[in-house]
Symmetry: C2
Subunit: 335 residues, 2 copies
DNA sequence: TACATTGATCGAACCGGTTCGACAAAGTCC
DNA sequence: GGACTTTGTCGAACCGGTTCGATCAATGTA
């Protein structure tokens, strides 16, 4: 039914292998033959069958993207990671197989062992991620977004959360703040092993201790109305705190209305600094000074390295763990 | 390198075809042989190669999901459509190839003509969608989410936006409102051919005319701070309006803080009704009475029908255009 | 002029499954 | 007990590409 390379060969009066070589350029083809083949391809509307090509070359030109959508998580934040991965992959000629199954380990095994993908990108990697064992056993390489406990043999990309926290504390300390509230991701994120939570918090605490200033750490909530209640309780309990650092997507998104309702003015009554991406800030119109979380850079770097490793498993060198350098964007919410 | 069906056959002392039949169950296999094959599969850790199977059966067990991420659009709203499609597809044994390319028509042609997918789901279909021509020419079936001008030969799923608007107008009319502001999607959505925009607005206007009440239609904005400015201007210009209908994701998400800043109380000063999904409302903590936009149902129905059509192109019957019945959820923002 | 080299093309094997037809052994029927 | 069906298995062809080795003509070299 569909046009095959044999149809093209017949139409051009050559053998299928010649068409294949014309397509791949792996052997020289005379100009006249090439012209006839090109004409035939155009006339018949030929596109090489992906399955057949995958079988012959053991290359699918597909990258698996493994995401975990915890129902309790703030969904809008996820897309910022998915799109850059997809776009970067396409730049290199790869398509994206989106895997959202709850049983991520089984899904990973399925797509790798069936040879559906040439490599995988794991999003939202946690401290002791059960997927990593499966990934290490797979024939295909993988790239992680998120720092796990054991990185042996894996390419890892993440934001430098410790440095992010230090930058924010330094910034506020420099402005004269001596009592700061830090709102972390929800407790269940810590429990699940979302290491970015404690990497950020612990770095903030350590830095504050060095300066001899006070930090009050709290877990944030994941959803309204709990966010508003919790924030109100925290702010009421710490009336002398002059600054607030929020490391929590859902909370920062809700903060404008929470503070407006309280009548708290920023930065007059309270300095606010946070950690989120440009796009996230734009979508939620966030006016806060914040460290850029660079999901696009993370996705892009992960795919780049993955593609390199797919192309030449040996030449790509030793596995890397690379941290994105955090950058502070001043938006006037601190004083 | 990977385990093949021949390895399994050798290990079990049978021929490859017997293993294949044991796997598919298409011919009867003696219990003892079946046991040896099962044991061999387990021992060797065999998984059938997807490319080879696709080649032999011309079935990839992959569904293409074509999304359009307009940079000016409210990204967080997109995921609510992607996830249900992915989850439903997996229920039927299909994986999802996520296609986000800007040139959607070319991408659609690419994945269909290379036989990478067994069918496609098109999200965010507009009035005169250039992808439809390509889809009609493709060998694989497709299902649309969003109503285009011409539905011939296509399975189409959408919310009944006209009915949604009527329900909201009826609701407010019943509560005694006689002057209502309607905020539509941004103008560029109309220009692009997002028919849901005018289907909703025109139905609202028509209904209001029937009741002899006043409706002031406005285009909404897509981003802050334009949203806030525009909403303030609109509310200032219509001080006698007692109710507001918002058909615009970005605007409704920003509305709580806009109204809080103005000091407008809901529903005392202004009744507010809208159109959004449960999940969206939860993510943004929206307290408004609204028609449920049911992205999960749309995605699920689209995949269901697509799978049916893939399984038996003839038996699936004539193409359908099905509208989800809108349902009003009272949340107390109207009085 | 004889011989090695290069360029262009073809045939055949192969990738790893599925499926059709054949066939022997076992079971059913009269 | 012979004819007929059913059951279980195998071999071979096929799906649609890629790639290796061989062939042959044209060109370069001694």
């Amino acid at each position: 039914m569909a046009i095959t390379i044999t149809d093209v060969a017949r139409h051009a009066g050559v053998s299928p292998s010649t068409v294949s070589y014309a397509l791949s350029g792996k052997r020289s083809i005379s100009p006249s033959t090439r012209a006839r083949i090109d004409e035939a391809i155009l006339a018949l509307g030929f596109t090489a069958n992906a399955g057949a090509r995958a079988l012959a070359t053991s290359q699918t030109m597909v990258i698996g993207l493994l995401t975990q959508f915890h129902q309790d998580e703030f969904a809008p934040a996820m897309l910022q990671y998915v799109l850059p991965v997809s776009d970067t992959a396409r730049e290199f000629g790869y398509d994206i197989l989106l895997v959202t199954e709850t049983d991520a380990t089984a899904a990973l095994r399925r797509v790798t062992s069936a040879g559906m993908v040439d490599g995988v990108v794991l999003l939202d990697v946690v401290h002791e991620d059960p997927r990593l064992e499966t990934l290490r056993a797979a024939a295909q390489p993988g790239a992680l977004v998120g720092l796990p406990k054991r990185t042996e043999g894996l390419d890892v990309f993440d934001l430098d959360f410790g440095e992010s926290a230090r930058i924010l504390v330094d910034h506020l300390y420099g402005l004269g703040h001596r009592e700061i509230i830090v709102v972390s991701p929800p407790k269940h994120v810590f429990d699940r092993g979302g290491a970015y939570g404690w990497r950020f918090r612990d770095a903030a605490l350590e830095r504050a201790a060095r300066y001899g200033i006070q930090i009050h750490p709290y877990f944030g909530e994941a959803q309204q109305p709990a966010i508003g209640q919790s924030m109100n309780a925290i702010l009421d309990a710490r009336p002398t705190a002059t600054a607030l650092i929020v490391h929590n997507d859902a909370t920062i998104a809700a903060l404008p209305s929470v503070l407006a309702t309280r009548g708290t003015r920023v930065p007059e009554d309270l300095s606010v600094a946070s950690l989120y991406s440009k796009d996230f800030g734009r979508a939620f119109s966030l006016p806060y000074t914040a460290v850029e979380s660079s999901p696009d850079q993370l996705g892009q770097n992960a795919v780049r390295q993955l593609v390199r490793r797919i192309a030449s498993p040996e030449l790509a060198g030793a596995p890397v763990t690379r941290f994105i350098a955090p950058e502070l964007t001043i938006r006037g919410s601190t004083a």
